[in-house]
Subunit: 510 residues, 2 copies
């Protein structure tokens, strides 16, 4: 997966600098961008290291405050004015910089907080003490002294919480700003940067904050610097993401667990009830059988072409997952994620393994997530599920049943649900799409891989809906980055090409 | 549920003693037995208290040793010779006493160990510091000083671990031996008492120990002093119990949990797979739909008469369980437990509640227990389940699948199973059945409630099978005794009538 292509033409930074500083400012070409990325990737490693050294678990407000201060300082130094957008918890941070002759404004979304850390499972001093590592002869990751960082190679990696998700992109962007500053390149658009310090908590304050600060955030488009590139690690643009709603379903047996000897064959078993309900919702191939669930989605010829242009290796994906067959919602991976999903993310009744007890459990519970696409109205989908359960003969409540209800209704289910946020999707040939495609093509000499929809969800629809602007994600990090897990890392080749990508975007006329 | 009937004829212990000691020994009648039970229930409370004060969680061998020593001493003092039957863990204890003119031998099974204790949930100093309690005006349990115990009433209770399960019956039996000794009543049969110190662990050493000590244990019948009476709290005899086998079923999704956004609609969900399998095994009314599962069981007219003679109040049972309808394996409670059951006792996949993660889980697991009746060959039933799963298109393994198997087979299930022990059932009109029925009728003036089968399982079939003898359970304790739970207790009226029952049995000619 090493995409780095050796550049044969050796050019020096000085050549570029002289050329640009002299006012012969043209657009940077691929060779120049490549050269710049090498120089700045190396010189900015201390910045990356410093940023990754600040603990950023959003559960700890004092740590988050340090991150906010760092960002205020970093953007302040680079000519941005910063504004804290206060919320009920920690603020969002807005940084703005206007440029001469600019007529448009690009809003950039950055995520600063990181997932919690299980420090026992990290193979280094701390998740907040970034470790530079390379593979040794035994194919193990071995630490390299930071002092040697200038000799780095693309396949070395920085291990730290948020290295990829998503402080790495923050450092790339700041570095790209520095490079353009030194070259006296000024974007022809104004920049607003909105920084989220609660993304890993699901950005609970974001939708309200965007509505209340609509004017402050006004822009022509939104770019998200987050997420991994396509699995081939080639330059990628992502034009949408599924939204997400969640649902909790509980069925009931006897009011308290009962001895399975005394009551087996007599007291109804809630785990069987739940199993029957779940089994009734999907067929053997994972297709939702609730009528109307996929309504409104049609993959036309043009879309199919777009989906099939993504160079997925289905066999490779299946080998990685170790599955012999896939669900049959779509015919291939990219098609599958154009549809809403209904996934059992958790299920429990009684106890298993060493905790097992010989009982008829009192209840059984399934946690379900419903990934949404633009065509699916989340309220409608959740209602379809609820109606389906009612049609199976259940009294459906949004709370636990009372004793009287238990004695009156043979089948009772409790459903609670939450719509986190909706999907978003931007056309490939929108202004934002065409512009970013052009920038990436200029940086890497070929069209980026363009993904119509990411299967996962990001809290972008509040911007898209409230500000009425298109959004495109520019992913840069390596896919095997252990995001959300111990030993998260960022491949230095991806860091370098991320800087290259962002310089190209800053340099691209809008 | 107060069954105690006031006896109008006041007789003194002295009258009985004189009558028996003078050699006018006839059979004790109901009035005499009632009077004796009152005297000895009071006088033996210190014995009960002492026995309950010895911690008896079988997990702690040193505590168990104290219990063994106590039993050796208690039976030794009463003219029994004791033998430790060594096993790989703690011994079983055999106590024997022969009687003049005896031609038959009755083997009595007593359980000495108790369930573990969660001391935070007991409303007294300790589960091993027995507390005497009575209901106060607010209907709460209130402690009574042990010094006042002689004024006790039937509805007072002793709270302690094993008060009911099953040290209470041990104290009743020792007290009954003392009463007959004082009256110079000698049973006309020899007595062997086998004491189990690992019953709550599932008596893992018992089957082997019985086989290896077959000659030592030879007897004509087995009586088990354990378990609660029928819910009406009237004198009860139980003639059988279901056996038990267990099965663990696991289905598989991706080899490790996957992001449900990226792979929802693509990677098969193991919780759905498991739900479909479980749903396919039983119908909506809880009847197993696997062909042959109920083969060989027929409730004939005579059996139906026996079952219907049990004074169950179905509505009351359902109210207690808080269920509006029951499974439809039988038409009523006693019929339901004449059939084998297939019960989901536990189920898990991914996480629920505050631990929920937005994933496609890597596996889903169900724990199943199969209660057995005499007609069900456990191996055959377990095979039926396995074949059913194979017929659903699964590769069935007894271990985790390998990567190659995962890549080759779309549906894989792992099944492991264990047959704990088989069912036993004794005829009502067997010698043991008729003899015990006669003894209880003599003690209480009416036929006992006779239960064909208890739904739960007790480790009695090793005796029944190896020694080829019939077994009958003589339950004595109150059903609402919180067995296995915090605040286990024994109603003093049940303690008293238990003593009455056991004196009557010792006094009944065999």
């Amino acid at each position: 997966m090493n995409f780095y292509r050796p550049i044969k033409f050796k050019i020096t930074f000085l050549t570029i600098l002289i050329s640009f500083a002299a006012g012969n400012a043209q657009k940077l070409n691929q060779i120049q961008l490549d050269s710049l990325s090498k120089k700045y990737a190396k010189s900015s490693l201390p910045l990356l290291k410093e940023l990754l050294s600040i603990p950023n678990d959003a559960f700890y407000a004092a740590d988050i405050e340090k991150n906010i201060k760092w960002c205020e300082s970093a953007f302040g130094k680079r000519g941005f004015t910063t504004t804290r957008i206060e919320t009920e918890t920690v603020p969002l941070l807005l940084a703005e910089r206007n440029h001469k002759k600019a007529t448009k404004t690009v809003l950039i979304y950055l995520q600063i907080d990181g997932q919690p850390v299980d420090s026992t499972r990290w193979f280094q001093k701390s998740a907040y003490t970034p470790a530079l590592k390379k593979k040794n002869a035994k194919d193990d990751w071995e630490e390299v002294a930071w002092i040697d960082m200038k000799g780095f190679e693309d396949d070395w990696r920085v291990f730290a919480r948020s290295a990829s998700d998503a402080k790495g992109p923050v450092a790339m962007f700041l570095t790209a700003l520095d490079a353009t500053e030194e070259l006296k390149i000024s974007p022809n658009y104004n920049i607003k940067v909105i920084m989220d310090f609660e993304e890993e908590l699901g950005s609970p304050q974001l939708p309200k904050a965007v509505i209340e600060n609509k004017d402050l955030l006004t822009a022509d488009m939104l770019i998200i610097f987050d997420g991994p590139r396509h699995i081939t690690n080639r330059p990628t643009l992502t034009f949408g993401a599924r939204g997400i709603a969640t649902l909790q379903l509980t069925t009931y047996g006897p009011s308290v667990p009962q001895h399975s000897g005394h009551f087996g064959n007599y007291a109804p078993n809630p785990a069987l009830r739940l199993s029957k309900l779940l089994a009734s919702m999907k067929d053997d191939d994972g297709r939702v059988t609730i009528e109307g669930f996929y309504d409104g989605i049609a993959i036309d010829e043009a879309t199919e072409k777009v989906l099939k242009a993504v160079p997925d290796n289905e066999r490779q994906i299946q080998e990685r997952l170790q599955i012999a067959a896939t669900d049959k919602v779509g015919n291939y991976y990219q098609e599958a994620i154009q549809y809403p999903s209904l996934n059992i993310r958790g299920m429990q009744s009684g106890w298993i393994n060493e905790k097992v007890r010989t009982i008829i459990p009192g209840w059984a519970r399934a946690e379900i997530d419903v990934r949404l696409v633009l065509e699916s109205d989340p309220t409608r989908l959740l209602n379809l599920i609820k109606e389906h359960i009612e049609n199976e003969g259940y009294l459906v409540l949004d709370r636990e049943p009372t004793k009287n209800e238990r004695l009156e209704y043979a089948k009772i289910a409790t459903i609670t649900s939450e719509i986190s946020y909706q999907s978003f999707r931007t056309d490939f040939d929108s202004e934002a799409g065409l512009w970013l495609t052009k920038a990436l093509k200029n940086a890497f000499g070929e069209d980026p891989i363009r993904i119509r929809m990411s299967g996962g969800s990001i809290p972008i629809s509040p911007f898209v809906t409230t500000l009425n602007i298109p959004a495109v994600t520019v992913p840069t990090v390596n896919r095997d980055n252990n995001q959300h897990s111990p030993n998260e890392n960022l491949r230095l080749g991806n860091y370098r090409e991320g800087i290259q990508t962002m310089i190209a975007i800053l340099n691209e006329k809008l």
